[in-house]
Chain length 143, copies 3
């Protein structure tokens, strides 16, 4: 278990593990909801109206949006946790991202009027960009 | 090569490298099949019936399903390999996941009657969830 | 910052950080373009012709293609950077992949006549495969 403790001694990486896991769990939950709605769709396919079908079809799209935002976060967040930032700064980044994704999902499911979902997406996007900027700055100045 | 040997000394991480690579290779193979069928589709686009087109369109969907299941596995599996589990437990998790994904693909391509594909997806999902549970338990109790 | 310097001492991993970040940044840029075009689509939805709608709908597909190629690259590239290859060989792999993805995007957006996009995809695919081959060879011979 030597390698493990070495990893956990680094508390920013530990924070990344926590928030990364919650974000991925949220994504997996969406996957279950998608599967559940698809099953429902198959059963009622003949009786449903066109509008209802449209609504069900939007579930994969939100899932795709999750994928395309979470992958850059996981990549950037991992290297960001080794970039020597303070724990509080890293936590701020991870928490804003987690919050923005949860709010984005809620805005999709309720649904809330449009600017809200766009703003949630924008917040997560900017946080990821801020982390990538830090990673790139370090990667290109160190050697 | 210092860093490398350190990584490989940890035999659970080595097991993750093996099974992760096979899972990703399987996904890349699907990508080739998708491209191959898309090319075929373009050639015969005018002569094909609606039913045949539907069948071809389902290839990207299975690929998307791969993406949405393999990303949580890679994320959870990586940290799981550092969580101090025994090699046999880790191998059990990795092997069930690999088996469930291969069976899922076969069930999609043959195709086998419906409950089989759903059960394969469920097996992979539960294994990923079990790994995330372990990771989360450690991440929240260590510090 | 101990863990960080250890990571950065390994210059191949540093190279992976650089090229991986650029590749992911390119993907995030596509995400913005997609969102921008979707917004435009919503505004003009009634007045647009069918051909224009088709063009806009192709944006998510290129994004999906990015996802399905970049995930194997990030996975394989990370372990590849620990596989004891020389810096020049690793740089060759990372640079060809980055170039192939950028050319693929340009070929999609201009658009260039078909064989060009297929060849770009093929180049990225082969480079990823070459890295996975190296990773698998090491994973199965070391222990």
């Amino acid at each position: 278990m030597g390698n493990f403790h070495e990893l956990l001694d680094h508390e920013v990486t530990l924070a990344f593990m926590r928030y990364g896991t919650i974000v991925v769990l949220k994504m997996m939950l969406m996957s279950t909801i998608t599967a559940f709605f698809r099953m429902k769709k198959k059963v009622r396919d003949e009786s449903w109206s066109y509008e209802k079908k449209q609504c069900v079809d939007s579930f994969p799209r939100i899932h795709l949006n999750d994928l395309e935002n979470i992958i850059p976060f996981l990549f950037a967040g991992f290297f960001y946790s080794f970039s020597g930032v303070s724990l509080s700064t890293a936590l701020l980044h991870y928490r804003i991202f987690l919050g923005s994704r949860i709010f984005h999902t809620i805005a999709y499911l309720v649904p809330l009027p449009q600017p809200s979902r766009g703003l949630a997406w924008m917040a997560g996007y900017l946080v990821t960009f801020s982390m990538m900027y830090k990673v790139i700055m370090i990667a290109f100045t160190v050697s």
